[in-house]
Amino acid sequence: MTNTSTVARGGGASPAPGRRRHAPQRPAKARGLSPRAVPYVLLAPGLLVIAGLLLYPLGQMIVISFQKVGIPQINGKKPATWEGWDNYTRVLDNEIFWSSLRNTLVFAAVTVALTLVLGTAVGTLLNRLSKKMSTFVVIGIMSAWAVPPVAQGVIWRWLFDADAGMINWALNLLPDGLSELLFGRSDWTGEPWLNDAFTIYLVLIVCVLWSSFPFVAVSVLAGLKGIPAELYEAARVDGATPWRIFRKITFPLLKPVFSVLTILSIIWDFKVFSQLYVLMGGPTNREAFNLSIFSFAEAFRSPPKMGVGAAIAVILTLILLVVTAVYIRQIVKTEDLR
C-alpha cells in the first residue's frame, strides 16, 4: 500500500487510472501541491518570460505600427498618437520597401536552396568517408558554423576587400582569356565588391552559405547513419543508380529531417541582419537594405520613426509566418508532439 502511494507521487506521469485517489497520502515533500498542479507550476516561470518578453511585445508592435512614435513619445513627453493605416501606406509607397522586400525574398530563396543542396551533398559525402576522414572534415565545417555572425561579416568583408582582399588576388590568377570569357574582364585589382547592392548580396550569399551548410551537412549525416545499410545493399543488388537510390530511399526516409532543415534555414535566412550590417558598414546603402535592416533604420536612425519601423516589422513577421505555416502544420501533424 505504501508503495503504491509512493508511485502515485509521480503525478500525471503514470497513466494508470485510479492511482490518483492515493494522492492525499503524499509525503511531506509534495505538501500542498496536487500532482495535477505540478506541471503548471514548473511551466509558469518560463511561460511568464515568453509572455512578457515575446508575446506581449508582439502585441505592442502591432499597436505601435498604427501610431506615430517619435522622439517626444520615446521620452514620454507626449502620448503616442493614433495614425490608422498611415504608417502602412507610407511604407508601401516607399520604393525602398519594395527593393528591401525583393532583396529579402530573393536572398532567402537562393541561399536556402544553395545551403540545402551543398549541405546534403556534403552530408552524403561524409557518410561515405572513412571514420577518421569524416571526423576531420566535420571538425573543419563545425568551426565555420561556430564563427559568430559579426565575425563572419568581418571575415568576408576582408576577403572581398577591394585593395588587399584575397578574392581579387585569386580572380587575377585566372588566365586572362578565361576570366574575359566568364566575366568579360581580366583585371580585378581594386574591384569594390561592397559598394553596389547586387555584389553586396553576392558576398552575403557566399558568407551565409559558408556558415550554414555545415549544420545541414551534419544533420543529414546523422539522418543517414540511421538508415539501415541493407536497404542500400538491396537497391544496389537490384542495379539502382546512385541518383535513383537517393530519390527512392534516402530522400523519403530523411523527409522529416529535410523539412525541419528547410524551415530552420528559411527562418535564419529571412532575418539575416548581423552579416549584412557588417558587410554594408551599418544601415547606409539603402538599395541593399533587406526588411530587417529597413525596419531597424526607420526606427532607430534619426529622426526615429518607430511607427513606420513597426509597420515594416509586422509585414516581415506576417511573411515569415505565412511561409513557415505550411511547415509548422506539417510538424504538428506528422510528429504528434509527444
Binding site: T6, V7, R9, A13, P27, K29, V38, P39, L42, L47, I50, L53, P57, L58, M61, V122, L125, L129, G140, M142, A144, A146, V147, P148, P149, V150, A151, V154, I155, W158, L159, D161, A164, M166, N168, W169, W210, V218, S219, A222, G223, V257, L264, I267, K271, Y277, V278, S292, S295, M306, G309, A313, V314, L316, T317, L321, I331, V332, E335, R338
Partner: protein
C-alpha cells in the same frame, strides 16, 4: 580497370572532395587568425601571403591596450561574458523546469504550449526590437547589462525548452519510478536521479544559449549608448573607421571573440546537432 583499382580511385576522389570541403570551411577562419598576426606590410598588399612570415602580436597588443571606442577590448569581452553567463544561468533554470513539465507530465494545454514554442521561434527579433526598446527605457534598464540579459533570456528560452525536453524525455522513466518505489520524494528524485542524467543535455542547451547571447548584435546596438557598456559584436563595428580600416586590429578582435565560441562549439557539437534535429523532428 579492375574492381579493386576502381574502388581505390573512388576512395581517392572522395577523400579529395572531403579535403576540398574542409579547406572551404576552414580557410576563412584561418585567414582571420593569420591576418591578426601579420605585420601591416603583409596585410596591406595585393600579394597573397599564406603565412605570417613577419609574425607580430602588435595588433593583439593594440586592441588590448588602446582598444576601440575608448576602452580596451577586455572590457567588451567582459561585458559579453556577463551578458552571456547571466542569460545562461537564468535561462537554464527556466528551461529545465519547463522541459521537465513537458517531458514528464501529461496535462491540459501541453500540446498548445508546444505549438506556442514553435510559433514564437518564428518571430523575428527585429519585430520585438521597437517594443522591447521602449519597455527597457520605461523600466530604467536602458544602458544596463541587466536589460540585455533579460532580453537574451527571452530570445533563447523557447529554443532552450524545445531542445532540452528531448534530453529529459530520453531519460528512462523507470529510473525515477524505481526511486519513488524506494521512497524518495519528488524533489530527491529530481535532483538525485533526473538531474545528473539530464546534466549533459543541460550543458549543451546552455552552451547554445551562451553562444546566442554572446553573438547578439541588434539589441546590444540599440540598448547601449555608453561605450563602456558595449558588447563585443557592437565594439567590433567601431574598428571600421573613417580613415580606412585597421584590418590587423579588427582581425585580432574578431579572433578573440570567435575563439571561446569555437571551443564551446566543438565540445558539444554532437549533442547539439542531435538536440536540434531530434528535438525538431521527433517532437
Amino acid at each position: 580497370m579492375t574492381p579493386f583499382a576502381r574502388k581505390r580511385l573512388t576512395r581517392i576522389a572522395l577523400n579529395a572532395a572531403g579535403l576540398l570541403v574542409f579547406l572551404f570551411a576552414v580557410f576563412p577562419v584561418y585567414w582571420m587568425v593569420s591576418t591578426s598576426f601579420k605585420a601591416n606590410d603583409q596585410i596591406f598588399t595585393t600579394d597573397f601571403i599564406p603565412f605570417p612570415t613577419h609574425f607580430t602580436v602588435e595588433h593583439v597588443d593594440r586592441v588590448l591596450s588602446e582598444g576601440v571606442a575608448g576602452n580596451s577590448i577586455w572590457l567588451y569581452m567582459r561585458n559579453s561574458a556577463i551578458v552571456a553567463l547571466g542569460t545562461v544561468l537564468i535561462g537554464a533554470a527556466l528551461a529545465l523546469l519547463a522541459a521537465t513539465a513537458i517531458a514528464r507530465f501529461t496535462f491540459r494545454g501541453r500540446t498548445s504550449f508546444l505549438i506556442l514554442l514553435l510559433i514564437v521561434q518564428m518571430i523575428p527579433a527585429e519585430a520585438l526590437l521597437i517594443p522591447l526598446f521602449l519597455n527597457v527605457k520605461r523600466l530604467g534598464l536602458y544602458d544596463q547589462l541587466l536589460g540585455l540579459i533579460v532580453i537574451n533570456v527571452g530570445l533563447t528560452l523557447p529554443f532552450g525548452i524545445w531542445m532540452l525536453r528531448t534530453f529529459v524525455a530520453a531519460v528512462p522513466k523507470s529510473l525515477e519510478e524505481a526511486a519513488w518505489i524506494d521512497g524518495a520524494s519528488r524533489m530527491t528524485t529530481f535532483w538525485r536521479v533526473l538531474f545528473p542524467l539530464v546534466a549533459p543535455g543541460l550543458v549543451a542547451t546552455s552552451i547554445f544559449s551562451f553562444i546566442t547571447a554572446w553573438n547578439e548584435l541588434i539589441f546590444a546596438l540599440i540598448l547601449m549608448s555608453d561605450s563602456s557598456g558595449y558588447t563585443m559584436p557592437v565594439a567590433l563595428q567601431f574598428f571600421f573607421g573613417q580613415r580606412g580600416t585597421d584590418w590587423g586590429a579588427i582581425m585580432a578582435g574578431s579572433t578573440m571573440m570567435t575563439i571561446p565560441v569555437v571551443v564551446f562549439f566543438l565540445l558539444v557539437q554532437r549533442r547539439m546537432v542531435s538536440g536540434l534535429v531530434a528535438g525538431a523532428v521527433k517532437g
